[in-house]
Amino acid sequence: MAGTACSSQKATDGRGNDDGKVKIGLVTKTDSNPFFVALREAAKAQAGKDGAELIALAGKFDGDNEGQVAALENLVQQGVDTILVTPSNSTGILGAIKKAREKGILVIALDTETDPKDAVDATFATDNTQAGRLQGQYVKAALGERAPQLLMLDGSPGGTVDEQRHKGFLEGLGLTETDPKVLGKEATNGDQNKAQQAMENLLQRATTVNAVYTINEPAARGGFAALQAKGLADKVVVGSIDGGCQGVRDVKDGKYALTVMQFPKKMAEDGVKAGVEFTKSGKKPSGFTNTGTTVIADKPVPGIDSKDTAWGLQNCWG
């Protein structure tokens, strides 16, 4: 009866199902966020093309590590060959990932890196620090001679992606965390209502604002609504990240200056392809694969490669 962390024998060893069909599991942070919906749909479509079976599960809310662990365990039980996971938190679910890998299952992180990075076989994700940096660089260039007076609409406290983007943005804009030019920051959980309220409150004391960082496009929409209500919309450069179709339309309408597009479809498709390849040949992908970022803006600024919103609308997701 003794022994630590051992597990009993299973009828299937994770790889190789009776019917020979490739089984791939996907665990997203939630199943309601349009980004993860796009990712899931793309994974399903790719699995359909490749003749693989895709089982999609999710946490209940952003930060639901327990829910993601249970989802991973359930996928292992179902005998999947590959698990694609977007971790809510870079360290929260490492134990469950380790158990899955011990059973011979290929585990690929999508969208968010784990810490340490080699806790998974490979990562297909946006370089979020770079995405934030691009947003910051564009805002800096768009401000021109004006010194930045910045408000920040952040994501969720403790979120890995949220911190990477935040840091990248400040770097791109050339400010430090404690610089007095950072007039204020608020957590919005990437939620439009919360973002609007946060911006309304921030504007009560920070009327000299000329630059706004947003964690994603819903936060940008909420922030813009508050700026518009105060009559500040024309004076402030608002930047965002995501590349959802609604976000690109918002840029086209001039609500915010730019958005940095990510490519969830590519993450999902590459993940499914790697899973299929693994089952067929046993070949595992490794390391970090940057699935790319593209600045979408209708006013190009010097020194930053960007695409216009017409291109954005052709390549957006959601």
Partner: protein, 316 residues
């Protein structure tokens, strides 16, 4: 049959649990394996532990909306203290102690100035959630200490059956609570207070003291739930268990305990917590979308309350 059901309130839920287990064993290949059944129990542990405290409070015709938030604060205290150099046993004690302390304040306000538990714990939920986020400084904290995680990571094999220390602890807690409620004067007082506080007072029961003691015990249980949580996910996250309070109420209701107080059992709650985990695992393995799983759980909750209402109505 009916009197049997009335006398043993956990019987109905136990039949439902058995039916669900049988259904998934027949309809999927992967549900009825020993390691999956072991996982289902592990998946129900944290909510099951929170639900034990919740049951005690609900038996006094109260409700606790802050329980999961208190446990989350507990995990953060334990994790951060250890990272800051405090010894693990002391950090564990402080985490559990703070949970008891918060429960003492809740119980004190509920009994001292007779405010409705719903309101007091709603306020507490907001305060404790904010306190946890302030204390966490927007970060989550990995936990590597063996003492803090061994409830989930230390596993023993009994034949094919995988058992964690946390399962054993939960079972002991449930048995102790069952014994205290059914075999001691304190237990009779808890039921009496929940049934009719005024009648209990007239028959010489110290109502306030009984209710306060229930909150203190519940606080202790929430502290242990925090410990259980670190065994499952060795990472203290201020955003965790956002629906833990409602999930624990779901387990209590599915377990046949009346939300009106005075009727029910902790063993029923244990079954209720297992029903939720069995549904989640079984429906997942049957390939049912998680949103439909929530629909199924919701329907069951309403059915459970309807059964409670029906049997109570006929009984009176």
């Amino acid at each position: 049959m009916k009197t049997l059901v009335l006398r043993t309130p956990a019987l109905g839920p136990a039949i439902a649990l058995l039916a669900a287990v049988l259904l998934f064993s027949v309809t999927t290949d992967t549900f009825a394996t020993t390691d999956n059944l072991s996982l289902v129990v592990q998946q129900s542990l944290v909510i099951g532990t929170l639900a034990l405290g919740q049951t005690l409070v609900i038996l006094t015709s109260g409700i606790d909306l802050a329980n999961a938030a208190i446990a989350v604060l507990g995990t953060l205290l334990m994790a951060q203290l250890v990272l800051g150099g405090t010894s693990a046993p002391l950090a564990l004690l402080i985490g559990i102690g703070v949970a008891v302390g918060i429960a003492a304040i809740t119980g004190g306000v509920v009994t001292g100035i007779s405010l409705p538990p719903f309101i007091v714990t709603l306020g507490m939920l907001t305060i404790v959630t904010a306190a946890a986020r302030i204390y966490a400084e927007g970060q989550s904290y990995p936990v590597t200490d063996e003492l803090l995680t061994f409830l989930g990571t230390r596993q023993y094999l009994f034949g094919q059956v995988e058992v964690t220390v946390g399962m054993g602890l939960a079972l002991v807690m449930y048995l102790v609570a069952w014994y205290a409620l059914t075999r001691t004067a304190w237990g009779r007082h808890v039921y009496a207070v929940g049934n009719d506080a005024e009648a209990a007072r007239l028959s010489g029961i110290k109502v306030r003291r009984t209710v306060l003691s229930v909150y203190l015990v519940a606080g202790l249980v929430y502290g242990i739930a925090a410990w259980q949580a670190l065994g499952r996910v060795p990472n203290a996250d201020p955003n965790a268990f956002q629906t833990g309070n409602l999930d624990s109420i779901t387990a209590v209701v599915l377990g046949g305990t009346s939300l009106f107080g005075g009727r029910g059992s902790v063993l029923g709650t244990l079954v209720g917590a297992l029903i939720v985990a069995v549904l989640r695992s079984g429906l997942t393995q049957a390939g049912i979308d998680s949103l439909y799983q929530d629909v199924a759980t919701g329907v069951l909750v309403i059915v459970a309350v309807a059964v409670d209402r029906f049997s109570r109505g006929r009984n009176q």
